[in-house]
């Protein structure tokens, strides 16, 4: 297990010292959320109604923008092949790198969401739910993103292809993330069922995607 945590620590340290990547992702999130009212008009009631959906969609797009980094650099400088030769199974390497991506990108995005929610006039009682659902859903986006990154490793225009492959798989997370928040703001459906399904989706994703992603990595490392 120490090799696993060493890999997580290494990835976090790299993400921290690179710096630019996280702030770019956060900047993208801010710009996408800020540009929508310019297209939709400044009606605060309308913005409050669509805020959960807008915040979730923008978060998914921002996460998508950053996931192709999960394996890219390590693939280019050969570190990934060294890792594959090491004692850690590829499945756990995927878990470690996706986990590091979630900590370094997912959590900052989740923490930025309430600030952006202010811009969209999200009702005050929804802020806690917003944080909770996003913190629950974003691990799934990181792991699905890792699968997409593994499939498109080393391809030209891999980033664009990755969006086409992975966005449809984000649909369930998006639907239940938004419906859990809407349940608190609008009702009448209760909060808990949506939230529990969201949590189940995340857990299933965490359990299954590492195997698919590791198979894709094996293919690309041959």
């Amino acid at each position: 297990m120490s090799a696993f945590w060493a890999l997580v620590r290494r990835d976090l340290r790299l993400a921290w010292r690179e710096g630019g990547a996280i702030s770019t992702t956060l900047g993208f999130y801010l710009v996408v959320v800020a540009i929508l009212p310019l297209g939709l008009g400044p009606d605060l009631n309308l913005l409050a109604r669509i805020a959960p959906g807008v915040l979730w969609v923008a978060l998914l797009l921002s996460a998508l923008l950053s996931v192709d980094r999960i394996f890219h650099n390590d693939h280019e400088d050969g570190a990934l092949e060294l890792l594959a030769l090491g004692p850690l199974p590829l499945e756990l390497i995927v878990v470690a790198k996706a986990l590091a991506h979630w900590i370094s990108t997912g959590i900052p995005l989740v923490l930025a969401a309430p600030v952006l929610a202010l811009l969209l006039n999200l009702p005050a009682e929804a802020f806690g739910v917003l944080l909770l659902t996003m913190a629950t859903g974003t691990p799934a986006t990181s792991f699905l993103g890792a699968l997409g990154a593994a499939l498109t490793l080393g391809l030209r225009r891999g980033g664009l292809l990755l969006s086409l492959l992975i966005l449809p798989l984000f649909v369930p997370v998006l639907i239940f993330g938004v419906s859990a928040i809407n349940a608190v703001i609008i009702g009448p459906s209760p909060f808990l069922p949506s939230y529990l399904i969201l949590a189940a989706l995340t857990l299933a994703t965490l359990a299954l995607t590492p195997f698919a992603a590791a198979a894709a990595l094996r293919l690309n490392l041959q």
Partner: protein
Amino acid sequence: MTQTEGLFNRLANPTRFMSIAAAILPWLTGVTVILFAVGLYLTFFVAPPDYQQGETVKIMFIHVPAAWLAMMGYSLIAVSSIGSLIWRHPLADVSAKTAAPIGAVFTFLALVTGSLWGKPMWGTYWVWDARLTSVLVLLFLYLGLIALWQSIEEPSRAGRAAAILALVGFVNVPIIKFSVDWWNTLHQPASVARLDGPAIHSSILTPLLVMAAAFTCLFFVLHLKAMTTEILRRRVEALRMTQVARAAAE
């Protein structure tokens, strides 16, 4: 079991597959033509117009089979993907690759006919109905698969990557369907015209089943033809490569 395994292994030889396909194709094509002739006749001259929807109900005889085949095509890709990942069956790869565009076209056809049907029924070309939305997502899954095939040059690598993606997508299709149903009931309860009037009468059911059989045969005709074409294309590619290698050696 041994018998099916035997068949499975015999089919693994592309040349034998080509000769079997060549033997089956004319017959299957003939059956398809006959089924379409009967199905279209039943559709236009026998099936009664609906008392509410008039003649537009006949769109159903194209729409419903196309939607079935959209699902069947993806299932076929998933089964072929298992074959190519686990047994490295050489034809499973070809089957998965060639089924994707055909399935995508049927999915597109289901969406277009559904939309054309929706205009007179719902008053608009598109409603975010649960079924329409999940078929739209299915089309996206198909497009992703085709795009992945086209992005990786080496066919065996492309095949295995696409197989992994196809299986992930196959696990996700029911989940997406379920979440879209949930989303739809949340957003627009029963605003869409429901089509479940009385149970389907046999005067409509018979043409529908004949058309479904015709479409299924059409799918397999196209699929077999596409598979043989793909095998030939790979042979040409291989011949060209050996030619280049020989020229380089001289």
